[in-house]
Structure formats: structure tokens, C-alpha cells
């Protein structure tokens, strides 16, 4: 029979393959509607879903799979971490580089309780409408890292590699490299090279999580992951706990040595249930076949030993931090560059729901959605803003609303989406070529997608020269930003879009 380890590796690989397939397909593929529920992994995530729902004080229907996940955890314990979690799989895979022996930590008991503290902090802040889950949720971290950092970098490297062969390689080389490149292009690479702000920071977070493996296998999962903590707590009552036949156990410690989450308790017979990820490695390792996960033997389950005071303290800090962030001036006074995607909820609700998973930025067809740096205040970090200098909002595209797992961006029919105003354009007449008397231009008007044209032209003489000058029709402009993207000025555009007049906010 297949060993537990092999079975688990197969499941992990299969799930990761599915995960990556969905990631690759989070892109326009000649169809207005994405054919797959590419955000399904996120929607199975109770931590993310519940934090968003709690912070927004609403039931998020889209997140119904998270209830299923919770139910499965009630029955099977924290199996998600051992078998399903794609970040967990990445960490296991990184063992190839870190080897079996790790440096170890000095105070495991205290350290592993940190994750419960983080969970309490998130609960406390969410209770007071501040959603911080984006900082710690493993799926958000992984997808965001892939979308904003790792995948664009891989694209860049491969494009550069095949590009250099194409430019300077001998015919015999390009005869092989070009078909290979075409294959990669159609199956793995992005249609156009994506570029994102914060690519380095986002990648740094990812590699930091990996680097922690140096100290311990699954350091992140054992000690920090609040999703792991939540699932561990949910699974406390599961009937398939680890159990040890003490008549057979010789206390050899083989089980404790293979356990990658430190769930084996003192004396080897007891189990920290909230830590056990049901990987079954201890069962395989036990030379006496004393360990099972079902049957008549009574499990000796130990509850988590996180101190109550510490948890209450975390909860209180989380709650109070809601007030701290709410009192930040940036949260009160909107930044003109905080242009949200069409269908975004009003700002407070949006921030409560947006978990910075990166799906909308990944799918944005013109690369216009970018992670916010300061535009949305300190808490808006990584949340999507349109940066028209980099890319615009495509008139007939509704993809961002299709992938948002929490409904922070509503899924809109295209007719409705075209009516949503996300901002307004204005001219810098000192720099605009026809306005400052340099030359004809009006590339902005040409690209304006509004059928009646939100940019109007007037022939207007200036110092003896007559050029067609563009004007904004504020009744028609929807703020899509294509004018700013396409403006021929090479530094900053002479037409800019700001969040002024956005449909989701109060009227001026």
C-alpha cells in the first residue's frame, strides 16, 4: 500500500497543480467571462472570509465555501495545512534546499502560541471594523506574491532569455528556442509582460516566510499562521485525532522526530490537537504500529496552552488599533490618486472586505490596477488602485469584479460597468501640446472610449497658431484613464485622472 507520505505528496502536488492552473488562468483568454472560478482557493479560506465579513458587518455569500471548509475541519481537524494549503506545499517543497536538519528554536511552546495571538489580534481588529487579515493570511500572501512579484519576474527573465537568443542566437538555436518560446507563451507566460509596484516588497515577504524554514520545518505554519490557528481551534473536537496504544509505545520518540508541527506531546502519547495537521507521518514512523487516527483507543488530546491574558491582550490591541488607524489623517482625507476599480464598494466597506489577495491586479487586462503604496492610507497597503500612467481600465472589461473573492469589487454586467465613474480627468494646460501652443495632438480624444466622447475638441487660436484643443466633458467622463496612459508626453501625462466624482462616493 502507498505510504502516507507518498499519498500526501501526491495530494499536495495535485492540489498545487490545480492552484497554479487557476492562477495561470486568472487572465483574459478570449472570453469576456472567465471560464473557471479562479478565486476558489481564497473562497475556501474561513480566516479571510470571516475577517472580511466581521469587519464589514455583512454575510458574504461569495465566501460560502469557507463554511464547507469549516465543517470539514470540524470533522477531520487541521488537515488543510498538511494536505491542501498551497503555501504549506511550497514550504514542504523548500525542504529540498533546507535539508532535514533545521537549526531549531529555543522556546517552542511560547513561539507556537504566537499564532493564536495573531488570530486574537485579527479578531479584535475585525470586531472594530479594521480588517488586517491581509498581513497574515497564507493564501493572500501566496497569491499576492505570485501575482505581483514572482510571476512577473519569471516572465521578465524568460522573455529576456528567449529575446536575447532571438536577437543574437545563430539560426540553429532560434530554430529550437522560438518554438519553445511560442509554447511557453501560449501555456505559461503572460500575454504581455506585467509590471507592478511593490514587486520587491511583496517578493521579500514571500521569501521571508520561506527563509523561516531555516529554523524549523513549517515555521510559518507552526508559529505564525492565523489560518492554521483558526483551523486548529475548529478541529479541536474532531473524532479522527491521533491516538497511541500505550501498551505498545516504547517511548522511542520516532513520532516526535518526524512531526513537522511539534504536535506530539510530552511522553509521546498525548497530542496538541490544534497543532496536528493530520499528515500521518508519525503513524508511518512508529516502529511498534502504536499510532492510529481512528479506532477504539481513547485519544489523549491537549488543548492549546496559549495564555488567556496574552490572548486578551492581543484582542485588546487589535481592537484599539482600529481606532489608531481610523484616526490616521490619510484614512479621513481621500488621496486624489486613490482611484478604485469599477464596482468597488464605498471606501470603508471596501477596506473591510479587500484582503489584498492580488487577484484583481493579476487579472487586470491593461495592467492598470496596481497595489496602493500610500494612496489609500497606511492600511490600504497592497489594495488595488488604478494608476493610469501605467495602465488604464479597459472599457468593455469586467474581470476584476469577476475574481474578487469577497465582493469588495462587485461583479457588474458590462453595461453597468461602463456607467461607473471611477474618477475624472483634467488637463494640465501648461503641458498639453495643443494647449501650450506646441503642436496638434489629441491622442487622448482618439482613445476616449465613451461613445459620445468625454473629451471634446475646439479649434481655438493661441498666439497666432490654431490647434484643436481638448476639453473634458465631466458629465461623460468615467475616469477610465486611457487618456492618461496614451498621452504622448514621456514623463507625466498632460491629462490626469483623479478619484474626484467617483460614483461610489458622495456627490460634491
Amino acid at each position: 500500500m502507498m505510504s502516507a507520505k507518498t499519498a500526501r505528496r501526491l495530494v499536495q502536488s495535485g492540489v498545487f497543480a490545480l492552484f497554479f492552473f487557476l492562477f495561470l488562468n486568472t487572465e483574459y483568454k478570449d472570453s469576456d467571462q472567465l471560464p473557471y472560478a479562479v478565486n476558489i482557493f481564497l473562497r475556501f479560506d474561513p480566516l479571510m472570509g470571516w475577517a472580511a465579513a466581521l469587519a464589514d458587518r455583512s454575510f458574504i455569500w461569495l465566501m460560502w465555501p469557507s463554511l464547507l471548509m469549516a465543517a470539514l475541519t470540524l470533522i477531520f481537524g487541521r488537515f488543510f495545512c498538511g494536505w491542501i494549503c498551497p503555501l504549506g506545499s511550497v514550504l514542504d517543497f523548500s525542504g529540498l534546499f533546507f535539508g532535514k536538519k533545521r537549526r531549531g528554536v529555543s522556546n517552542q511552546k511560547a513561539l507556537r502560541n504566537a499564532k493564536f495571538g495573531i488570530l486574537a489580534l485579527l479578531a479584535g481588529s475585525s470586531l472594530f471594523t479594521l480588517q488586517l487579515v491581509f498581513l497574515f493570511d497564507p493564501l493572500c500572501i501566496l497569491i499576492r506574491s505570485l501575482a505581483l512579484s514572482l510571476y512577473p519576474a519569471a516572465n521578465l527573465a524568460l522573455n529576456a532569455f528567449f529575446g536575447s537568443l532571438y536577437e543574437s542566437g545563430p539560426g540553429a538555436v532560434t530554430a529550437v528556442s522560438e518554438p519553445a518560446y511560442a509554447f511557453l507563451k501560449s501555456h505559461f507566460l503572460s500575454f504581455q509582460q506585467p509590471y507592478y509596484r511593490l514587486a520587491a516588497l511583496t517578493g521579500f515577504v514571500f521569501f521571508s516566510v520561506i527563509a523561516l524554514e531555516y529554523a524549523q520545518k513549517r515555521f510559518w505554519c507552526r508559529n505564525l499562521c492565523p489560518l492554521g490557528a483558526l483551523l486548529g481551534l475548529l478541529g479541536m473536537m474532531n473524532p479522527f485525532k491521533r491516538r497511541v496504544r500505550e501498551d505498545l509505545c516504547t517511548s522511542c520518540g520516532a513520532c516526535a522526530r518526524v512531526c513537522s508541527t511539534g504536535a506530539v506531546g510530552e511522553g509521546f502519547a498525548s497530542t496538541q490537537t490544534a497543532e496536528c495537521v493530520a499528515c500521518l507521518e508519525c503513524k508511518s514512523a512508529c516502529p511498534e504500529k502504536a499510532i492510529s487516527f481512528a479506532g477504539a483507543v481513547k485519544p489523549e488530546a491537549q488543548p492549546p496552552d496559549a495564555g488567556r491574558r496574552a490572548l486578551l491582550g492581543s484582542l485588546a490591541i487589535g481592537a484599539f488599533s482600529a481606532s489608531i488607524f481610523a484616526s490616521d489623517a490619510k484614512a479621513r482625507y481621500a488621496d486624489p490618486a486613490r482611484i478604485r476599480p469599477p464596482g468597488a464598494l464605498p471606501e470603508d466597506e471596501f477596506l473591510a472586505r479587500c484582503t489584498r489577495c492580488g487577484e484583481c491586479m493579476r487579472v487586470c487586462i491593461a495592467n492598470g490596477l496596481q497595489p496602493a503604496i500610500g494612496e489609500a492610507g497606511p492600511l490600504g497597503l497592497w489594495s488595488p488602485v488604478l494608476v493610469p500612467k501605467i495602465g488604464y481600465c479597459e472599457y468593455n472589461c469586467t474581470l476584476c469584479g469577476q475574481v474578487c473573492p469577497t465582493g469588495a469589487i462587485k461583479r457588474l454586467p458590462v453595461e453597468e460597468k461602463r456607467q461607473v465613474r471611477i474618477g475624472l480627468a483634467y488637463f494640465d494646460r501648461n503641458r498639453c501640446l495643443p494647449w501650450n501652443g506646441t503642436s496638434e495632438c489629441i491622442v487622448c480624444e482618439e482613445h476616449c472610449p465613451v461613445p459620445q466622447k468625454a473629451i471634446k475638441l475646439k479649434e481655438d487660436p493661441l498666439e497666432g497658431k490654431t490647434f484643436k484643443k481638448p476639453f473634458i466633458d465631466e458629465k461623460l467622463c468615467i475616469g477610465c484613464g486611457i487618456c492618461e496612459t496614451k498621452c504622448p508626453l514621456t514623463d507625466g501625462a498632460a491629462i490626469r485622472v483623479t478619484s474626484r466624482g467617483e460614483s461610489r462616493a458622495e456627490k460634491e
Binding site: D30, Y395, E440, I442, V443, P451
Partner: protein
């Protein structure tokens, strides 16, 4: 120097000589400036009859040649909105090239909206792929393939870049749709070349008349077919309102891009002298923009 380069250079030399008044390029253009206007119910039949009246596709495309068919696929708009070349017309032109014995027909455009959306929404991707012919290749622009071309006679610039597939093709068929355009008033065959040029297209808007003449000097269209099945009369070049679309069921075709464009202006109730890029092109000897000097052959299809 390959064939295409040779052709480009000789045509530049001819045009240059014509500017100096010595060479009979203008006379050549005049001889070739017959323009066919075909009208009828079927877009495909219109274009077929138009080309037939010009001597048939076999008089342009030889057996075994590689042909680039360059429609306007610039915008994420449906065929009814008349922002892109009609897909039936595109398919029929390709079919005629194949009938004439073309070994390869390539179709592409450097779009303004997302390329994938434009290819799909325009209906051109489906029309071309639906032909199911391995000699026909519709592809997206590969940015690596733009090659610099020197143009000493250029007025707006002396250096442009063009898509390699156009430079190396044996024949180039210019297949625009007739539309209103804010900056150039109309966009027709001459402006369609912007879809095969590299580098910044926005920059040439500073002086479109000279820049478009430069482009057409650097790259000759062996055959220009203006699709006026539907024309966009206002809010071009992408439109969006059906009120701005007029159904004309017409094809205008010829070998002199300036003459074809000039005749096409009349579909909008305009004359070539109202269109600055045609005035400039005629002045620079690229072709005939004087309607009185163009032999117009009207065909009922």
C-alpha cells in the same frame, strides 16, 4: 538587401526623383490611379467584384508569394460599430489571395485597446480562424519584430520602424475601414499604416499629414481596399453609438492609396482638399488626390 528592402528603397528613390520633377513617378501613379467603387448587398461580393474590376487578385499576387493583409483591428468594438474592418471583407480578401496562389497570408494589427479583445470583438479572429487554412496566419504583434527603416526624404522624421513581416512580405494589401477621426478628420488607407509601424504612434500625432506621407513613402501598399460596408461618421475612430454608423455596402479599391482615399472621402460628403493628409500626400507626389484626374469605375456587385 532583400527584395522588400530593395523595393522600399527604389520606391523612395522614385518618389524622391518625382519631387525633383525629373522622374515619371507621378505619371506612373496617374496611370495606376484607377479606382473601383463596388456597391451591393454582400460585403464579400463587393470586395470580390472590386478586385475583379482591377484585374483580379492574380494581377497583384503571384503564386508562392507571402502576402500581408492588414485590416484595421484597432478597437474593442463589434462589426456593427464600424470601428474595425468588416470580418467578411477580411475573409474574402484572404480567400482571393489564396485563390491567386499565395503561399502564406499573414493578418495582424497593432491595436489601440487590448489586442486580444480587439481580435475577438472585431469578429476578425473568428472569421480568419474559421477558414481553417494552414496557409493563413493571424497573430498578435510581437514587439521584438519591429525593425528600423531609414527614410532620408522623411519630413516629420527620417527614421521609422516597421513590422518585419511587412518588410519581408512580397505583397502588402492595405485593408482599412472608412471612419471619422478627430485629428485627421478621416482615417482611411494612408492612416492604416500606423498599425504596422513601431515606436511611439502617439508622437506622430503632432503632425499627422507629414508623418502619414512619410509612412506611405516608406511602405507602399500594393493594393488598397477601403471597407465602407459600414462607415463611422462621427465620434471616430472608435465610435460606439450605432447612430453614428451609416451602412453603405461599398468597397473602394485601387493601387494608388492616395487616390483610393480621395475617392473614399466622397462617401462622407467631403472632398480630398478638406483632408490635410491627402493634400500633403498629393503635394509630395505620393499619388493623385484630384478627383477630376482619377478614373472612377463604379461597379454594381
Amino acid at each position: 538587401m532583400d527584395r522588400r528592402e530593395f523595393m522600399v528603397k527604389t520606391s523612395i528613390a522614385c518618389a524622391g526623383a518625382a519631387l525633383l520633377g525629373g522622374f515619371p513617378a507621378a505619371a506612373q501613379a496617374q496611370a495606376a490611379s484607377g479606382v473601383v467603387v463596388a456597391t451591393g448587398e454582400s460585403p464579400a461580393r463587393n470586395v470580390r467584384e472590386a478586385v475583379k474590376a482591377l484585374g483580379g487578385m492574380a494581377s497583384f499576387v503571384n503564386k508562392g508569394e507571402t502576402v500581408v493583409v492588414k485590416p484595421n483591428i484597432g478597437w474593442d468594438r463589434a462589426p456593427e460599430q464600424a470601428a474595425n474592418t468588416n470580418p467578411e471583407v477580411v475573409r474574402e480578401v484572404i480567400a482571393m489571395c489564396l485563390e491567386a496562389g499565395a503561399a502564406k497570408v499573414k493578418v495582424f494589427d497593432r491595436t489601440c485597446n487590448d489586442p486580444r479583445r480587439c481580435y475577438v470583438t472585431s469578429g476578425i479572429l473568428a472569421a480568419v480562424e474559421g477558414m481553417g487554412d494552414s496557409r493563413v496566419e493571424i497573430s498578435h504583434i510581437d514587439e521584438r519584430r519591429f525593425k528600423p527603416v531609414d527614410l532620408p526624404q522623411g519630413v516629420f522624421s527620417q527614421r521609422y520602424s516597421f513590422y518585419e513581416d511587412v518588410l519581408t512580405a512580397d505583397k502588402f494589401i492595405n485593408l482599412p475601414v472608412a471612419k471619422h477621426h478627430g485629428a485627421s478628420r478621416l482615417t482611411l488607407g494612408m492612416k492604416n499604416l500606423m498599425g504596422v509601424m513601431g515606436s511611439s504612434r502617439a508622437a506622430i500625432h503632432r503632425n499627422l499629414p507629414e508623418a502619414l506621407s512619410d509612412l506611405n513613402l516608406a511602405l507602399r501598399s500594393h493594393l488598397t481596399i477601403v471597407d465602407a460596408t459600414r462607415i463611422l461618421t462621427a465620434n471616430g475612430p472608435q465610435g460606439g453609438m450605432l447612430e453614428d454608423v451609416k451602412k453603405l455596402d461599398t468597397i473602394v479599391a485601387g493601387t494608388d492609396v492616395v487616390a483610393v482615399d480621395s475617392v473614399a472621402t466622397t462617401l462622407f460628403g467631403k472632398t480630398p482638399d478638406e483632408i490635410p493628409f491627402l493634400v500633403t500626400a498629393a503635394k509630395r507626389g505620393l499619388g493623385i488626390a484630384d478627383l477630376a484626374k482619377i478614373k472612377i469605375n463604379r461597379v454594381k456587385a
